[in-house]
Each structure stands twice: as structure tokens, then as C-alpha cells.
Amino acid sequence: MPRIGFQSALITALRLLLGALFIMSGGEKLLDLKFFALVIAEYQILPSLLIPAVALIVSLCELVCGTMLLFDLFSRISASVMLCMMAIFIAAMTNNAMRGLEHDCGCFEFLSQWYGLKEEIGIGPIVRDILFFILLLPVALLGSNRIPWKKQQPGGL
């Protein structure tokens, strides 16, 4: 069926693209967790005590969900977790942009290093995260939750 083939190819492409992106993003945050924690502090939303833990959880989530998306392990759950995170990022950035705060968004530092993209909060990073949100939707809705190494039983679902 050509329609099913296209859908499957699209989801695979999105899974690989977003998986690689979140692995790089989470990895670089974990490598310099203090920097990421200081960026979170700049949002002035969370109490200081929670910031190091939140920095660790967000970085780990990105790395683990990215890896799961890349290897098609529980893709729907991983994409759903990332959807929730993207919604939180978008809300936090919009809130700070409306308050007139100017600081690094703490999103994808490697993009600014590689392509010179501005990483300060503003309309650019917000639109980019909305785009990632839209790209995650098909994986969250239509992706698989199968475990690749587990043999499917004949006649099973």
C-alpha cells in the first residue's frame, strides 16, 4: 500500500531527525550541567533549590527520549514526553519574552555554535519549538510502542 509506506517512511524520518536532535541537545546539557542550571535560573520561574534537579531531569529526559526515538523503542511514549516538555519550554519562553527579560533560551546551544543562530529568548526560538512540537505530533499519535527484539506472536496484535 503506497499510502501506508509513505506514512511509515515519514514517521521514521521524523523519529530519526528528532531523536538525533534531542540526543545532541540533552548530551551537551549534561556535559555542562552548571551552565544549563544557570540558564534555568535566569527564567526566574523555579525556586533556587529545585534548579539543579530540574536541569538534570530535563537533560536526562532529552537524552533518553532522543535515544528511544532513534532506536524506535517506545517511540509514542518518548514523543509524548517530549511534546509535554516542548509545551513547557514554549510557555516559559513566551512568559519571559512578555516580561521583557533578555537571556539565553538554553535550548540548542550547538545550533548557535554551528550555524550562528541566536539563542536568546524571543520569537525565533519560540517558533522553532512550536515547529518541533508539530513534528513530534505524528510520532506521538502514529508511532509504534513495540520492542524490536521481542518476536511478535503469530496472529497477535
Partner: protein, 147 residues
């Protein structure tokens, strides 16, 4: 006649030199302090460097903490405009109100240094100056940085 005139000129020169030379040398020795005290004007690069070299001032980085963490003037302390209230109690324990403080941010277009300087003055710090050239001028000049 000519000898008398020459002698008078020499004596006058010696007297004048003896008056002005010590005063000139004192001015030179007190250069950093004088630079820091001049008016309410902001410090330029050479004045900031003179204070840095004399170790007579505490440099304060008014940018965000993550920017300070990435790079800052060697020995500077972080006191960001955005999180001043959270950072100030620790700063107050480290530096007395008598300390000469030089506040800087990114460069001339940045207002964070002036905001932090105002906040410090409101909290009793009398000797606060702003290095308007900021980190941009400092790093372009190749002066000591860390981070």
C-alpha cells in the same frame, strides 16, 4: 652682567623644579585612586586597567550568571542585574561598603552595569564606578580573562 642673569635663571629653575617635581611624582603614584575618584563619570579602558593592575578595586560582572560562568574579567565577581536580590547577600558578606567597585557588562550599549551600580549605591556602597567599555573592549584589548 650676563653671568648674573645666567645665575639668576639657574637658581629660579632649581627652585621651580624643586617645587613641581615632587608634586608631579605624587600625582603619578596616586594615579589609580585619582582615576577612580574623578567626578561621577564612567571609567574608560585605560582607567579600568590601571585599577585592575593596582588591585585596588573589585570588578563586578553585571551580566547574567551563565554569561559570567562562560567568561569574565579575571578575578571579577558575579552580581547580575537580573538576579541581584538573590546574589547580593553573599556579595555583601565578601565586600565591605568601603570597597572600590568597578561594574561592567557587555559594552557601551549595555545598561545592566549602570543598573547594578545604582543598586549597589542604594545599598550603601559609596565607591562604585562603571566601566562602560565592558567585556567587549576588555577582551579586544587582550586583557586578562577567565572562565
Amino acid at each position: 652682567m650676563a653671568g648674573k642673569t645666567l645665575r639668576r635663571t639657574l637658581v629660579a629653575s632649581v627652585i621651580l623644579l624643586s617645587i613641581f617635581l615632587p608634586a608631579a611624582s605624587q600625582l603619578h603614584a596616586a594615579e589609580p585612586a585619582a582615576l577612580a575618584k574623578e567626578g561621577s563619570g564612567e571609567l574608560d579602558l585605560s582607567a579600568a586597567k590601571a585599577l585592575f593592575d593596582s588591585h585596588s578595586a573589585c570588578f563586578v560582572d553585571a551580566r547574567s550568571e551563565y554569561a559570567y560562568y562562560s567568561s569574565h574579567i579575571k578575578g571579577a565577581l558575579s552580581l547580575s542585574d537580573s538576579r541581584f536580590d538573590e546574589q547580593f547577600p553573599e556579595f555583601r558578606q565578601k565586600k565591605s561598603t568601603e570597597t572600590l567597585i568597578v561594574v561592567y557588562c557587555v559594552g557601551p550599549g549595555c545598561s545592566k552595569a549602570r543598573h547594578v551600580a545604582e543598586k549597589l549605591k542604594k545599598n550603601g556602597y559609596r565607591n562604585v564606578r562603571v566601566f562602560s567599555g565592558g567585556l567587549t573592549e576588555w577582551s579586544h584589548a587582550g586583557f586578562p580573562m577567565e572562565g
